[in-house]
């Protein structure tokens, strides 16, 4: 495959990633995902596999050592997530590692820490209700009644069935709070399978009574509520999207080297060479921005939020474009269920829903740059 990988870190980190790579090589997740679309199943991932990944240190990768985690920097987590994106890993990496982990780390509460320990140990799979755009006020709201809170509203969430807990942003009197709920007591309805095998389901809160300790953090304003998802989360999801694009690209370049038409390998035709090389240029720009965003988050730089949104917008665009081009450059074979590029095409579109989509993040980056809606007066 073509080397569009990020730079080499320390030996320890490299060893960790090598082991992860080897595991993914044996795992054969692409075939698993292909079968999801044609075979009956209750859960769209393999729980035993998730536990094996936890054993390898994946689920605790960015959790601090004080909470039993590996305490690696976000950049390293990003490289693991990229590998998972390259391999279309069906386990809830995007939900639990990319979104729930940074979200819980930002809450600073005992409840959040206890969930993080469960994630690190591979015992808890956590899904997150996170909008692809702005936070909707009153989508789910909670009102205090004595010792308990009454919660009402309705939301949709990925990776249920399967996840053990769902984090929901709830509107309260003076802002928002994150609530952790067991989805199964809410009787999930309208479960659907998405184009890439992922499940999504609707959770109805019908004046559900919850005790105060189910809130995992303090009251926050709208920006603070989503900040961990829109910065660290978005940067990690970009690494996934980049991985998906990079692998779809390398599969395609390999195909251009073996497929013949008109008596020549199609990769020798300049029209196709130039299309491939243009994608290659954009992949190089994208991985540079993803890497810069993760490094900025590790360093706590003031431009980290901008870089995260820039990375997310670019990686989203790129994954959509590269996977579409991958089908075109394959020709008819690319339309078949058997060809991997179709699975990458579908996966990229669902992954693009995590952590705010590319359209939302471009507008957010514009706003962080001070470029938004000149008034017309």
């Amino acid at each position: 495959m073509n080397d569009i990988s990020t730079s080499v870190g320390t030996d320890e980190i490299q060893d960790f990633l090598d082991v992860a790579s080897k595991f993914l090589g044996k795992r054969g997740s692409v075939a698993f995902v292909r079968d999801l679309l044609t075979e009956e199943h209750d859960v769209a991932f393999d729980r035993e596999c998730w536990e094996a990944q936890a054993q390898l240190g994946w689920t605790s990768i960015a959790i601090p050592e004080s909470l039993g985690g590996a305490g690696y920097p976000w950049s390293t987590a990003g490289r693991l997530v990229q590998l998972c994106g390259e391999n279309l890993v069906p386990e809830p990496i995007l939900s639990t590692i990319c979104l729930a982990t940074p979200l819980l780390l930002a809450q600073g509460s005992e409840q959040a820490e206890s969930i993080l320990k469960g994630i690190g140990a591979g015992e808890l799979i956590v899904a997150v209700v996170a909008p692809v755009g702005a936070l909707q006020k009153d989508e789910v709201r909670a009102v205090k009644h004595g010792d308990v809170w009454k919660v009402s509203g309705s939301v949709s969430v990925f990776d249920v069935p399967g996840a053990d807990l769902v984090l929901v942003p709830v509107t309260v009197a003076d802002g928002y709070r994150w609530l952790a709920v067991d989805p199964y007591v809410l009787e999930p309805r309208g479960t659907r399978m998405l184009i890439d095998g992922h499940h999504s389901t609707t959770l109805d809160f019908d004046d559900v009574e919850v005790p105060a300790e189910k809130f995992v953090g303090p009251v926050l304003n709208a920006e603070e509520t989503l900040a961990p998802i829109l910065t660290v989360g978005a940067a990690l999801v970009s690494a996934w999207l980049f991985g998906t694009a990079a692998r779809a690209f390398s599969i395609t370049v390999d195909y251009l080297k073996v497929r013949s038409q008109f008596g020549a390998l199609i990769g020798s035709y300049q029209a196709l060479q130039h299309r491939a090389s243009r994608l290659y240029c954009e992949l190089e720009v994208a991985t540079s921005v993803v890497e810069a965003a993760l490094s900025a988050l590790d360093a706590g730089s003031s431009d980290a939020a901008l870089l995260a949104s820039a990375a997310r917008a670019r990686a989203g665009d790129l994954a959509l474009r590269v996977t579409a081009e991958a089908i075109q450059l394959h020709g008819g074979i690319g339309m078949t269920h058997e060809a991997d590029v179709g699975l990458y095409f579908k996966s990229a579109r669902v992954a693009n829903q995590f952590g705010g989509d590319h359209v939302f993040h471009r507008a957010r980056a514009g706003s962080l740059l001070g470029i938004e809606g000149n008034s017309s007066q």
């Binding site: 073509n2 730079s7 370049v253 300049q270 540079s288 507008a363 514009g366 809606g373 000149n374």
Partner: protein, 395 residues
Amino acid sequence: MIAQVSDVEEFRQEIRGWLEQNCPPAMRTPMPGDEVPYGGKRGGPVKNSDTQKWTELAGARGLTLPTVPKEWGGGGLTDAEAKVVAQEMRRINARPPLVGSGLALLVPALLAYGTEEQKRTFIPPIARGEVRWCQGFSEPEAGSDLASLRMSAESDGSDYVLNGQKTWTSFATVADWMFCLARTDPNAPTRQQGISMFLIDMETSGLSVRPIRLINGDTEFCESFFDNVRVPAENILGELNRGWDVAKVLLRAEREDVRPWIEASYSFPVVELWREQRCTAAEITQRVIQSELDRLGLDALMDRARADAARGDARAERFANILKIVNGEYQQERAELAVYLLGEDGLTWSGGELLGGDAATTRDWLTSRAFSIAGGSTEIQLNILSKRWLGLPVA
């Protein structure tokens, strides 16, 4: 040799003091297009007299070619020290003391292929800004397909006699010398063999130059006509018939020398114009945002390219091709946006009461069309990426 940290810090203090004393205050301001220090004698004095003073002082201190050994007119600095010089110059916004193809392109080739005599003869006057060079590569029938060049060079006694025509010889009317490719063996087995690199005094008889007017009004590009131009054999750089190898070093240096262009691209004040013009069109606002994100992407790409190159990654060379394409296109989009936002002012060639008093943005926008053509067109870069870096089959 690895310099000790304390030595580097000591050097930093030394160079900081030197810059404070020697870099004229006028050379710590943004550089207008007519004050670019190209050096040379035939171009006449530059507009701001401090420009020449700065070139001379920096040249004498070895800062125009910091890492070139002192015996060849450079500063003899280590890479770490040169980095300190660059950092300290950036810190006070110092203008480059000297630019041009002699410094950026020919010197790397002289270092790689020049004889001791050639290095001693040609590098010091470049470093001092006394001699300006131009490039004689392209011909009317040899543009992107450079290896098809036809200018002939026939051996005659201790000289070679050159006949033919060169085009796109930038600044040939004001350059003192030209480095030039000519065919010394028309019967060589491949087109790349049989070419030699000549170093030619522009005042040699039989050499005439005519400026070409471009879409931006500039006349810096020229056609050069060779009518029995005699060049001494010792002015061949590299081996006879192996000029293509020398040219490759030069062309690579040309691709890597994108930094000035990249800085120039940032001179299109797209966000400021968008705000000043109170642009409310959603389409343009989107493009302005994307342009800023592209700029950020380019910065990240260059940082990564530098880091990979510094680590000695053999694949870092691909960044030269990628940067050439990406930079050119991002910059052209920025130029288009700037001119669109300027409205009729942006389309003004001369006269009227122009925003900012001149048509610089308009001329720079027209110039930007060359960014995807000069120095190896985007299509040539895509060919190289396809074959060399993606390993796609040759037709």
